[in-house]
Symmetry: C2
Subunit: 185 residues, 2 copies
């Protein structure tokens, strides 16, 4: 299996894990849906956990790329981008097959604090928080770290509720609170 075949396998596993969950998805299914044998998978990943970690790495990359780019497209100013976060989220919530945040779900299924999957899931959130902190700093807020953390709370709350309610409205409801927080009514 070539390098791009390996990437394709990870992409495929991502789709299946996102749709079915991690523990609920067997490696036999991943192999079948990817059109390869289980042995081929285990030639590239020593364990199922390693495959999951590779999937989460890809997801982290894809999601942050998409989100930050979309925020930039929606606004040139840093403060505007912080608000645009919620407009981007709304677009995501409206997508077909939207099932909430993959990292929240990974963290829910692998709860041990010292588990690699659990740690990597939280690392994704920290990377997003870092980006928000930089934007809040560039926008001139006195406590950029605190602002970023609070926006992250709004983001996670909107994601969880939109996934549970199958309703994208949480994005704009969270945005309204972000406007209060950022004092840009």
């Amino acid at each position: 299996m070539s390098r791009n075949k390996r990437e394709e396998l990870i992409r495929n596993a991502l789709k299946i894990f996102y749709r079915n969950g991690f523990n609920a998805t067997g490696m036999d299914l991943v192999a079948k849906e990817s059109g390869v044998s289980k042995t081929s998978i285990y030639n590239h990943f020593r364990t199922k956990d390693e495959l999951i970690l590779a999937v989460l790495r890809l997801r982290d990359e894809n999601f942050r790329d998409w989100l930050f780019r979309r925020m930039e497209e929606l606004s040139a100013a840093p403060a505007g981008q912080l608000l645009a976060l919620f407009d981007a989220l709304e677009e995501w919530f409206a997508e077909d097959g939207y099932q909430g945040c993959m990292f929240v779900k990974a963290s829910a299924e692998f709860q041990d604090a010292d588990n690699a999957i659990n740690r990597q899931s939280y690392a994704h959130k920290l990377l997003i928080e870092d980006h928000l902190t930089q934007l809040a700093d560039a926008a001139g807020y006195a406590t950029p770290r605190a602002i970023a953390r609070q926006l992250l709370i709004l983001k996670e709350g909107a994601i969880v509720l939109s996934a549970m309610s199958h309703d994208k409205a949480a994005a704009q409801q969270a945005k309204a609170m972000a406007q209060l927080l950022l004092r840009v009514d």
Copy 2:
């Protein structure tokens, strides 16, 4: 098995499911940790899903009882109770073995929109939203439903982040935003 034995079984299953996750926990483990045979469990619950639903019913009852009572203890006024929500959450986050919201995790593991476990998990959130709506109404806010929904977003965001970061700080960070929303600085 008597009625209270049945309740004890549900209580026991709740602990195990909360600690281990739903799919990751086998019925053999539930039986062993409860000190009964699998047959006894299946005499009371036709399937594992039914046991999970019973567990979620108990959890919903326990959690709402505790949360609403604690909010009342912390403040007599409706608006004060809305803010006290986050002080109560902080106490919960600091508890030993805190692992986030059981309903969010259930919803993450059973994602189908028509799944009974998924629907019951969201129903729990709606019951909390209802209570917040009543409080917001009693406090005299013009749009109690919208206020309740936004507080729910703050609550869920704080729960998810505190679980992932193993840090209770999210409660007070969410409370700060609630103060902006409720205009009670």
